[in-house]
């Protein structure tokens, strides 16, 4: 097997934080809010996070967003993008993804029409996503990172 495309394609990933520029061609629902990312969300959550956890895994959401939303090509914790502001904006976002006739392989975020992920399932996934907590200390609290910085400040040796 080959990778079919170079890793450069990886940088073309369009994740949850990406603008929805091609929605019109798919006749999708109205665009999600375009406000700046926020660090805390307070909108209502009505889905089932336990069910959502399984859906997050089954639909391979982790593949781009990591298992806790904080790693990978398109992390969204703790700087939550506007697309995740509410259940409604999240569902709208799922419905309006991506070119529907791709020629080349892509690691862009897939489209999730209602026959793939129902509105109720979308709410469950949203509930699970909202349970994510940041697991990142500040740099000064990570000894290894301080060692890396200290090493970089040492004189260069041939």
């Amino acid at each position: 097997m080959t990778t079919k495309s170079s890793m450069l394609m990886f940088v073309a990933v369009v994740g949850l934080a990406a603008p929805i520029a091609i929605r019109a061609q798919q006749g999708a629902t109205p665009a999600a809010p375009t406000a700046k990312p926020v660090t805390a969300l307070t909108s209502p959550v009505t889905g089932n996070a336990v069910t959502g956890k399984k859906l997050y895994y089954d639909h391979a959401c982790y593949s781009c967003h990591g298992f806790n939303g904080e790693t990978g090509a398109r992390p969204f914790v703790p700087n939550w993008p506007a697309n995740l502001a509410t259940e409604g904006s999240f569902t709208a976002f799922l419905r309006g993804r991506a070119n529907l006739s791709p020629v080349q392989p892509s690691t862009a975020m897939p489209n999730y029409p209602v026959q793939s992920v129902s509105d109720a399932q979308a709410r469950d996934i949203y509930a699970y996503i909202r349970s994510f907590k940041s697991a990142q200390p500040t740099v000064d609290k990570i000894p290894v990172m301080n060692q890396i910085l200290a090493a970089a400040k040492k004189p260069y040796k041939q």
């Binding site: 781009c64 990591g66 991506a98 999730y112």
Partner: protein, 646 residues
């Protein structure tokens, strides 16, 4: 296991073949019992006749009851031709010959392990479990050293097993010396009239010598062609008869190393003047051929006080990343850029693989090499040094051109210019160090994301490793592009071999065997190898773990175990999504689950120490320390780390 056992013939057919081979090797003074001596069928298709049952003598020999002929223990050949072949390899400085055993090169194999004092040293026989592994080992070794390693291939089957690895090394412009054994008198399907033809379109040169003397010259020529730009694998097909032939008084011909063409004196003068007259010269360094080229590039940069770019975070043989002159410099308005395997005001770029197109006689037309084939970019090394303007490209090897440029710079240098250069160099050093710390600070800020998460973030894997190896002489042998490429921002790549880069042609199954090849280079140079190993890649040819253990190689394997061919998972998920038929089955054919693979156990079954699977990030650092203690003792070590996808 003998290759012949892979061949779909029954035991009787096998014995018949062995008998006919013995009789057919007319040039060999081997005693053949009269009852075994059957007339070898001539020409293609000779194996179509059903094999008769074995006779009594054959059965006796198969049972090991055969004795040498009466009259002493006379050897078939006092000075076998294969001894001279091995002497040629030794004279060329070939350290290792990797092979999965095969009868078509048994003469050479016996000479490697028994000829000379001490035997089995320079070259040492490295036992591989697959020809694809053998050649990828040579690929990894070649990138770490700039020198060819040798791989032996058994007939048509060995060559075809190796084909993918040869293809990758070719795309990666990496030298490798391949010797294929041929035995026309044994199993018909294992030989062919033009064996090298199977891989001719992606090797640089090949020969099928007719005599022993020609064989010796051909090996030397293959070495020369492999290391002459464009560097690439080369192949010599050597008949078993020539390996076993009595060499008599034949001498090993003296080897003349190639003289690789560099720029002419006029161009050297022009470039030296450009560098010295510029207010702010720049040198953009791509991938050179050998460590000597890197040394010369450093020498030139220091002589003229030029800031430099490097491709050291993308592959081997480029400018040291932490060198004070490496970076944007104090002033990013460059008025003269010399490109070394890079574009520039003047860019010196060695011959591309397109210069070998005539070997693609059936016009396969490989993408990026043949014109008009691919939408993707062209093949070839170089890397992106950045900051180099479009200018004039001189089609000439950069490394071979550096001595003439350095000589000219010295000739044109004046005390006034030296003072300016000293001042400029000091400013560059300060600016580059500031830029480096700023970039590192930004990188660390980004990579703290998910620091305490489980599964473990790939950034943490690289971050935890770096303080442990920063003062070691290390090689990062595995491609990091599927693991976040965190080394590019967190580590310093200061040696020609610090990072060996990508697969060459993007093919999987490269990382582990290339790491073993790098570890062969590291073993004799007191270095250690870090192999951050993707799980999908390892499963192509995991037998290389046994090779690493058997030969006691200093290789630390840290699994980037995301339990998938992750990029393919993303591709398929995307297709599922855009077609609107459900993404919940995207894992089919793209993931390694049900069951998960336990890589510590995999390593253990090959005799390698290790630990894991590790899911708790707190346990990662101590495991890496234990692994490095083992590796520094010459014992490879496996740490299975369950990671975030990327």
């Amino acid at each position: 296991m003998s290759k012949s056992k892979k061949f779909a013939v029954n035991r009787r057919g096998f014995l018949k073949g062995a008998a006919t081979a013995a009789a057919g090797a007319a040039a060999i003074a081997t005693h053949v019992p009269e009852s075994d001596a059957q007339t070898p069928p001539a020409g293609p298709g000779r194996s179509n006749t059903p094999a008769p049952p074995p006779n009594a003598a054959q059965l006796e020999r198969d049972a090991g009851a055969v004795r040498p002929p009466a009259g002493g223990n006379a050897r078939a050949a006092v000075r076998p031709g294969s001894d001279l072949m091995v002497q040629v390899l030794r004279d060329l400085g070939i350290e290792y010959v990797a092979a999965n055993p095969g009868s078509s090169f048994e003469g050479i194999q016996e000479s490697i392990i028994n000829y000379g004092n001490p035997p089995n040293v320079m070259p040492e026989f490295i036992t591989a479990l697959h020809e694809e592994s053998s050649v990828t080992m040579a690929h990894g070794y070649g990138k770490a050293t700039g020198k060819p390693m040798c791989a032996l291939l058994h007939g048509t089957i060995g060559i075809q097993h190796a084909a993918m690895s040869i293809y990758q090394a070719y795309y990666d412009k990496t030298p490798a010396l391949l010797i294929a054994g041929r035995d026309l008198g044994f199993i018909a399907a294992h030989s062919a009239n033009d064996m090298a033809g199977m891989v001719r379109s992606y090797t640089k040169w090949d020969a099928t010598p007719k005599t022993l003397e020609e064989s010796l010259v051909a090996i030397q020529r293959a070495y020369t062609e492999a290391i002459t730009p464009p560097c690439a694998p080369t192949m010599v097909v050597i008949d078993i008869d020539l390996q076993k032939e009595e060499a008599g008084t034949l001498k090993v011909p003296a080897y003349q190393p190639p003289k690789i063409s560099g720029i002419d004196p006029g161009q050297a003068r022009e470039i030296a003047k450009g560098l010295l007259d510029a207010q702010n010269p720049r040198i953009a360094v791509g991938r050179l051929r050998t460590p000597d080229g890197v040394r010369l590039a450093v020498q030139l940069a220091e002589l003229v006080g030029a800031s430099t770019s490097t491709a050291a975070t993308q592959g081997p043989m480029s400018f040291p990343q932490r060198h004070p002159l490496c970076g944007p410099g104090a002033n990013t308005s460059y008025d003269f850029t010399l490109g070394l395997e890079q574009p520039g005001t003047v860019g010196l770029v060695g011959p591309s693989l397109a210069t070998l197109l005539s070997r693609d006689s059936t016009n396969i037309g490989f993408g990026g090499i043949a014109p008009g084939v691919s939408r993707a970019g062209g093949a070839g090394r170089g890397g992106r040094g950045g900051g180099a303007p479009a200018g004039r490209t001189v089609d000439i090897d950069a490394e071979a051109s550096l001595p003439a440029i350095i000589d000219e710079v010295r000739r044109q240098m004046s005390p006034d210019k030296q003072r300016v250069i000293q001042d400029r160099s000091a400013k560059h050093a300060t600016a580059n160090q500031t830029a480096r710390i700023e970039a590192l600070t930004r990188a660390l800020e980004q990579r703290r994301a998910g620091w305490d998460a489980s599964p473990i973030s790939t950034a943490r894997v690289y971050a935890e490793l770096w303080p442990l190896i920063v003062d070691e002489d290390w090689i990062l042998s595995s491609p990091s592009n599927f693991s976040g490429a965190h080394n590019a921002q967190l580590w310093d790549h200061n040696k020609p071999y610090s990072y060996l880069g990508g697969q060459g042609a993007g093919g999987m199954g490269y990382g582990a065997p290339a790491s073993v090849g790098a570890a062969l280079a590291a073993k004799s140079r007191k270095q250690i190898v870090i192999n951050v190993q993707t799980d999908g890649d390892l499963n192509y040819a995991p037998g290389v773990l046994w090779t690493a253990q058997h030969h006691q190689l200093p290789m630390l394997t840290v699994m980037h175990n995301n339990r998938a061919w992750h990029q393919e998972l993303m591709f398929v998920e995307y297709m599922c999504g855009v077609r609107g038929r459900g993404t919940e089955r995207g894992h089919i054919g793209t993931t390694l689950r049900d069951p998960f693979i336990d890589y510590r156990m995999m390593a253990a079954c090959y005799g390698m120490a290790g630990e894991g699977p590790i899911t708790d990030p707190v346990k990662l650092g101590p495991a890496l320390k234990r692994g490095l203690v083992s590796v520094k003792k010459g014992q490879p070590y496996m740490i299975d780390v369950i990671t975030q996808p990327r």
